[in-house]
Amino acid sequence: MPEKRIVLRNCGVLDPKDISTYLEKDGFKAWQKARTELSPEQLIAEIKASGLRGRGGAGFPCGLKWELTSKAPGDEKYVVCNADEGEVGTFKDRYILENDPFTLIEGLAIAGYAIGARKGYIYLRAEYHYLLDLLTGAINQARDRGLLEQFDIEIRQGAGAYICGEESALMDSIEGKRGEARYKPPFPPSRGLWQRPTVINNVETLMNIPQIILNGCNWFSQMGTERSKGTKVFSVSGDVQRPAVYELVMGSPLRELVEGLARAKAGRFIQIGGATGRIVPYEMIDTPMDFEHILGAGSIIVFDQSRDIVDIVRRTMEFLAEESCGKCTPCRQGTRVMVGILDKFAHGQGEERDIRSLEELSSAMMLSSLCGLGQAAPIPVVDSLQRFRSDYEARIRKN
């Protein structure tokens, strides 16, 4: 199964500094079609029918999100593109921004038209500051050519905080605050940025929009599986020969990606979806990559036979503890407790009861944390305890 480049179709083909190379292809045709042939309602119906789901990790149906926002009362609405890409092992959005900022801008403008927003934001992580000029240039070129009528795009930069990828923290950050998660409900479609109805979408989600409009929802929904339509862009790294960004049809087996494209040799385990993602033994290499099975934001980190899973989980937890915003108790305190326990195991000083503590703590954190970070933080612990328990048991201190 070769790569199927839909989202990445222009990457390496266009000159990202020159919008005319995009316009010579099918650039902004979808935007024109949307505005001349489709009402916002028809447009939203098309996206809904396509089955497109969010690519930022949670997989929320994109059309439904747009519909909720468009129907929410209020004349001031916003579209936000989430380009915070902080998940460990994820770099696909960077690759997209570097190579094809124009499709993203078109997707954002179409989203604005669909929900009746006059303003869009791109929240760019601080680490991608070097892409700022390129992106600004692309926006300016689109504006100069009259392609951003009645729709203004502003880039806001992050300042180094993984939690700002979480949608509510991201919006607080745009509002000039500490990026702390908000309680939900309300959700962004009813009260988002500055308490106004807001659509927030990942870069890759928006990249899909123009092609869906041009080719129709059926073209899109023919690809993929029952509940995962289209393609997915993956970031593959770790113990592989060809770490890179790859795009495959949803439902493709992990093996295709890891062995076929990235050329990994039989490893020990794979972390899918980054720090808050799943850890699976290498034997699960034939798992299909889709929302029905495992997906996340599409980060795939391969670990070879020499890697120590307890050490890897500990480092993952250190990341989460450092990046927890600190607002809610289970995440602020819980991630820190876990680092302490995992540290003991990493040094061969674990105790029998520590395993039980980890399990009880995991369950409480998943149930009571305020946002997705704290709720998902125990996943690597739970997965590794389930599949690699003996690695922990071997680290229990013997008196």
């Binding site: 890409e85 902080g86 601080a126 300042a159 990026g179 770490p243």
Partner: protein, 146 residues
């Protein structure tokens, strides 16, 4: 607050600039001196605690003194698997993570994934990203930052 209200209040808009202004100052001054934060707070009608709270939340803002250039070595897993550059950078500039060289030329920090895992091990110097690094390449790169 009424969600159908017209314009966002001027106050909220003003507040919305706080992070942008701190980022700009950080770029220009290399850190955020207290006098600057105090003035900024006064001009936006915010308390110093609020400005300080923001400055200490984001890891790319430095409320304390910092070197003219900041080296940030990525320590997240994909980079960690490919051998971190910590020792090499340390050898090159003579100070460890969390420290600044005595001539104020470099501050050395560790950071989480910078989205260059396909080029691991990776690091940033100021806003520039370097990937696929070997220790031998470091001197040539660091030379560019005075």
């Amino acid at each position: 607050m009424n969600s159908t209200a017209g314009d966002i209040s001027a106050e909220a808009k003003k507040r919305g600039k706080l992070l942008v202004l701190l980022e700009q100052a950080q770029d220009k001054l290399g850190c955020l001196p207290k006098e600057f934060m105090a003035r900024l707070a006064a001009s936006l009608g915010l308390s110093i605690s609020e400005v300080y709270g923001l400055a200490t939340f984001y890891s790319f803002l430095s409320p304390g003194p910092s070197g003219r250039n900041v080296i940030r070595v990525c320590k997240s897993l994909p980079c960690y698997l490919k051998d971190l550059l910590i020792e090499s950078v340390k050898r090159e500039i003579g100070v460890g993570p969390g420290e600044t060289t005595s001539d104020g030329r470099f501050s050395f920090e560790l950071t989480n994934c910078i989205g260059a895992c396909d080029q691991a091990p990776a690091m940033m110097v100021n806003h520039d990203v370097y990937g696929g690094l070997t220790p031998e390449e470091l001197p040539r790169i660091l030379e560019r930052y005075k």
